[in-house]
Point group: C2
Chain length 404, copies 2
Amino acid sequence: MEFKFAYRMSYLKASEIREILKVTERPDFISFAGGLPAPELFPVDEIIEVSRRVLAEDGASALQYTTTEGYAPLREWIANRMNFTRGTDFDADNILITHGSQQALDLSGKVFLDEGDTVLCESPTYLAAISAFKAYGCRFKEVPTDDYGMVPEELEHILNTTERIKIIYVISDFQNPTGRSWSLERRKQLANLAAKHQVVVIEDNPYGELRFEGEALPSVKAFDKTGCVFCLGTFSKIFCPGYRIGWVAGDKRAIDNYILVKQGADLQCNTIAQREISKYLELYDIDKHIEKIREIYKRRRDIAVKTMEAEFPKGVTFTRPQGGLFAWVELPSDINARDVLDKCLEKNVAFVPGGSFFPNGRKENTFRINFSYMPVDKIVEGLQCIAGILKEFMKNNTRERNRQ
Amino acid sequence: MEFKFAYRMSYLKASEIREILKVTERPDFISFAGGLPAPELFPVDEIIEVSRRVLAEDGASALQYTTTEGYAPLREWIANRMNFTRGTDFDADNILITHGSQQALDLSGKVFLDEGDTVLCESPTYLAAISAFKAYGCRFKEVPTDDYGMVPEELEHILNTTERIKIIYVISDFQNPTGRSWSLERRKQLANLAAKHQVVVIEDNPYGELRFEGEALPSVKAFDKTGCVFCLGTFSKIFCPGYRIGWVAGDKRAIDNYILVKQGADLQCNTIAQREISKYLELYDIDKHIEKIREIYKRRRDIAVKTMEAEFPKGVTFTRPQGGLFAWVELPSDINARDVLDKCLEKNVAFVPGGSFFPNGRKENTFRINFSYMPVDKIVEGLQCIAGILKEFMKNNTRERNRQ
């Protein structure tokens, strides 16, 4: 059998992260590669209790089909939470429960993108968003991005000069992969520019609640007067990713179309998962739980930044994120992070080379460090190992240059 | 904001079933509309135990991300099960766990279909498969279908004369909506024709294990010598639909592409759900559980068929399925089942009009009856109500005809 696959299969490729994760599953590996939350923080005992109660009180409904929109009390909680933490003005009808925020990305592509449309994104951007959107045949244009978000003049210029822009995709808080956050001013500017040009903004925010310091900023949606901004969220980073429960929130007219494509895609999310999370939120204090996560991740961020400052050779720069899970490292332009990774893998240390986070031009002298997953002693050990290898690379490269 | 939705949104529409289900959620409704399993058969106590053990023994992994392919022991169980019950020859590597078999339909479309490709289907066919495939811009060609499956001469003629056929979609056992099953001979013929014409077969089989009588037949895959047949399955009908755990099984070269598109679509299925089902299969006897489901559904099928035989007016025909969840009713051609439904809804009785199960020409004088969900007294009461309304329609139509 010669399979005739859809044309899209010719330009989709396996996520580099998921491929690296397979290699690094061994327990002796020090992995900065995944975006994995620290499993020792999962509230296992509470979830045992929650699961028992959901099943004992209403097992027949919890195990049955439910509506595509999702479990009503959970949608209401999400609306209230976002209004409180992010300055939005949603009610339950604005929320569709999705199979993780990854599905919200996929559905966004399905609702808005035709073959040949353009998606604007930060540079670099989240690599699994690239693959979600790409499946609908779009092109990407990377908007020059600095420490405060997309540069507004550049964004405006691109909006003025590019055809068929359908989506501006951003991660406003503690971006994946850089850990950078958008300033307040930039959020307002983005909302205004998107409204003026009638382009949809997909504001992805998996990490916003994981702020270690500084002031929490409102969602871009808080400045949206026309309904063009859609907010994605997830329980993966503040609760447990295994549940695969996320959401998309936005203008009801478009959410109805999201519901329609979700019907065809998988009917609905896992009923029990929705009920269990909802019951957890009813019985326990998720703020206390998030506070615990923040403390641990902050300590890990601190130690990671401190170690990089002490050990990484001169000429290597990195971000110092105020929250989230990731930091971003930039090497001298003549060093390819994939080569560094190969050497690190030999010593059982892993990270994700940065090239895949650029949908067009690849900047191969970059990589992403996850600091949420490993305990502090492993973080120190792993970063020291990377530092050692980086020093060798820089020494060799200097030698090369001197020889030329 | 004037939303510019993707072109596909202009031809997708809400599932009629899901819309009717919303109306019939009230407990006083007698609903033959959904494809709902009987919730009183869900093994709630066993699931409480299973959930406790999964979380207590390995909570950190059960709540964490996992691989896109799915939980290895579950994939292995599925491969063995299919080999035993359906005469296939799979191993775990042939299996991708999906978010219900509905997602396996969606991923099949994404992997194989380009805009303008053709999907061949039975006539009528499962309406949510129509919406899943349609999202990828395909056309449908309905293959004339009788009580034994697609008519091979008609199928061959269409294969010879139609361009860009990518998929033949069939439900071989107790089809949704008709309850009919393919004969052994037709299965072989389908496998041979598909191989000869190098077309992929998507064999959907959510109900195969729910056989009340007669001999179980092998999967079309059992006669596939070239790798063109892909089998979809699900735990929804033999266990609980709320888990949203299904699968696609087939040639590894194509399954790799399914995995790739699933990565972009939602990363992976719910980890806990996969672990819990796997633990249930380890601790309990699912065959015993399925036997219980079969007994109850058989009794309901018996009473439904008996009531229709006794009460439905002459000129109304219906199928007598040997298993599954559905029977199919055909009215005289001048009666529109939607009009009948309107009258039934007034009396709190619901079913799904058959028109939506035909992707092209609609046969509006048909409807689908689910017999798995309601207890027997409600089945009798509801079918008697439908029979009464049908009699009035036929009387009125006869009067109309006499007047003309």
